[in-house]
């Protein structure tokens, strides 16, 4: 947990660039309130009911190419997705850190803390939503490690985080590394 407050401050500063003054201040307050409580937890795969014509059937794995960032980014099991709820942008024309074309990135979002099995560290993951195009429909994934009730917004994945964007229509979710939470989560 050491260093988390510093991280939260830096995150808030980065986020502030992309959003309005009022909402970024509100966000900053929330991060400060909840920061100490975000836990680093072991990765476990949650039930992800598939719906519709999409899904993992026939997918070819997409990997980072680095052994320090292992796993298939189109699979709900990928380590960064430990607290995601939505369609994986890696299946929608984007990647873990880039929105699909035709959308815009939500500047504010919820964060989770996921352990990278390769280096044992707990990373803080920002699950920014991509907005302005309707439900991608591919690779629905719902995992909730560290997810907390809506009363702690910055730790909740049930909000539509398409906020501060031109359109609030939800397309898919990113999983961006924004910091290291703990040096050793093992």
């Amino acid at each position: 947990m050491a260093g988390f407050d510093k991280f939260a401050e830096s995150l808030a500063r980065r986020l502030a660039r992309g959003t309005s003054r009022r909402s970024s201040l509100a966000w900053l307050g929330m991060v400060a309130t909840g920061a100490a409580a975000i836990p680093a937890l072991p990765v476990a795969r949650a039930a992800t009911p598939q719906h519709g014509g999409g899904g993992a059937a026939g997918r070819v794995p997409v990997t980072s190419g680095s052994e320090q960032d292992p796993g298939d980014r189109t699979s709900c099991d990928y380590w960064r997705y430990c607290a995601i709820d939505g369609f994986l942008c890696s299946c929608c024309g984007g990647s873990v850190s880039k929105c699909p074309p035709g959308t815009e990135v939500s500047p504010i979002t919820w964060i989770g803390t996921c352990t990278n099995p390769a280096d044992g560290r707990a990373y803080v993951i920002s699950y920014n939503d991509c907005c302005g195009s309707s439900s991608c429909g591919q690779c629905l994934c719902n995992r909730n490690e560290g997810d907390r009730p809506q009363v702690r917004p910055q730790a909740n994945n049930d909000y539509n985080w398409c906020l501060g964007t031109e359109s609030s229509i939800y397309n898919c979710s990113l999983a961006v590394i924004v910091g290291v939470a703990t040096e050793d989560a093992g």
């Binding site: 009022r22 909402s23 509100a26 966000w27 307050g29 929330m30 309130t33 909840g34 409580a37 836990p39 937890l41 072991p42 476990a44 949650a46 039930a47 009911p49 719906h51 519709g52 999409g54 430990c82 607290a83 709820d85 504010i108 302005g132 195009s133 309707s134 439900s135 429909g137 629905l140 719902n142 995992r143 909730n144 490690e145 560290g146 997810d147 907390r148 009730p149 809506q150 009363v151 702690r152 917004p153 049930d158 909000y159 539509n160 398409c162 906020l163 501060g164 031109e166 359109s167 609030s168 229509i169 939800y170």
Partner: protein
């Protein structure tokens, strides 16, 4: 109908004669009337449930499915639009359904309009609309706490999230917005007293507000240490027993709040859903709408045998019936597979309604846990919230 019976007989005679077509053919089936639309009873029977279909693959096209859980032939009675992370309220005595929705002029882009639509329960046609200003309506996977009644169903309260938090007060009968209440750090709306509401706050407190006749805040009170987000995070949607809201925590603790007065009153004493063998690692509540009440005040909690950190939305395979006042586990119901949301009807013989992640809806006896009927995946793609007829 008499003629139909006769014709049926004639066809039977034909088949008995070895399949040959009789010289004496039955009269043709009559020409049917065009231009008819089904109507529903304005007062829904107690076996009916309003099923919120989140429609994840087309969130802009969400719906409320009106479902008769006692009719396995035609469980789906009709659909009401519930667009883009909508919420729904049902006022049986007004014979109205309300949806709070968000629209864009070009579906995914353009001008945003938030509005409450008023639907007639019998025709499912819209009767009116109240536009909500500011484009700030909270959009979430369906929770009951983001759109609520107060003032005896005359008003509605709409949660806003930009992420600045506030509540818009709406006069449903007058079809107008009364005002907006800033509520930084607090979330969800729990109707409290005759004209007011409570919210849970991020610092562990609860706040109760009494509203004046013009919709402004008459008074407010903060209840410190009303909940513990770190050690006992509460599922967002409580089960109501009279005016008491019963919440269940991620690990199974039950917390009651008496919302009958102007200020919420946390009930003293700890209750718990109890324990059981066979958990791996342990039994915990799991699903979306995980707690329900019956008319007798018993609670029903959807339980997962694979409870651990992060399992709280994984769904459950049993429903545990608990008496929260006596703090006693009454019985366990095996619901034969994974479910995500549950509700209990107010029928004379109450039914436990079980919605599964694939849209299947099953009906169990709340009294003995036996399976009554299966409705199939016949109403909704992603059933989130089940609202029973009170």
């Amino acid at each position: 109908m008499m003629r139909c019976g006769l014709l049926g007989g004639a066809v039977l005679l034909g088949s008995m004669a070895g399949g040959a077509v009789l010289a004496q053919k039955p009269e043709p089936l009559p020409v049917e009337e065009l231009s008819q639309v089904e109507a529903l009873p304005a007062d829904y029977p107690k076996s009916w449930v309003l099923v919120h279909d989140f429609h994840f693959n087309a969130i802009v096209d969400g719906r409320i499915a009106i479902v008769d859980t006692a009719d396995p032939q035609a469980p789906l009675k009709g659909l009401v639009r519930a667009a883009q992370f909508a919420n729904m309220l049902y006022a049986p005595e007004k014979r109205e359904i309300y949806t709070s929705e968000t629209f864009y002029s070009r579906i995914t882009r353009g001008e945003r309009t938030d509005a409450i639509t008023i639907w007639d329960t019998a025709t499912l046609q819209p009767k009116g609309e109240i536009v909500l200003p500011g484009g700030k309506r909270q959009q979430s996977v369906t929770y009951t706490g983001t759109f609520q009644f107060t003032n005896d169903h005359k008003w509605a309260l709409v949660a806003n999230f930009t992420p600045a938090q506030s509540v818009t007060v709406v006069d449903l009968e007058g079809r107008k917005v009364l005002g907006e209440i800033d509520l930084p750090g607090c979330t969800h709306i729990y109707p409290t007293g005759s004209r007011g509401f409570s919210s849970l706050c991020a610092d562990g407190s609860m706040i109760s507000l009494v509203l004046a006749a013009d919709g402004t805040v008459a008074s407010s009170k903060v209840i410190e240490n009303a909940h513990d987000i770190d050690t006992q995070p509460l599922f967002g949607m409580p089960a109501m027993v009279g005016k008491t809201a019963w919440f269940v925590s991620y690990t199974g603790q039950l917390r009651g709040y008496d919302l009958s007065g102007g200020t919420a009153r946390p009930l003293p004493g700890a209750a718990h859903v109890g324990t059981a063998e066979g958990g791996a690692p342990e039994w915990r509540p799991g699903g979306w709408q995980v707690i329900a009440s019956d008319a007798a005040g018993l609670l029903y909690v959807l339980m997962s045998p694979n409870g651990r950190e992060g399992s709280h939305k994984d769904g459950g395979t049993e429903v545990w019936v608990v008496d929260p006042v006596a703090n006693r586990q009454v019985r366990r119901i095996d619901i034969g597979g994974l479910a995500s949301s549950i509700a209990v009807t107010r029928e004379a013989s109450p039914a436990l309604i079980v919605a599964r992640p694939d849209g299947q809806i099953d009906v169990f006896s709340a009294a003995d846990g036996s399976l009554i009927r299966k409705l199939g995946a016949t109403a909704a793609y992603n059933p989130t919230v089940l609202t029973v007829v009170p």
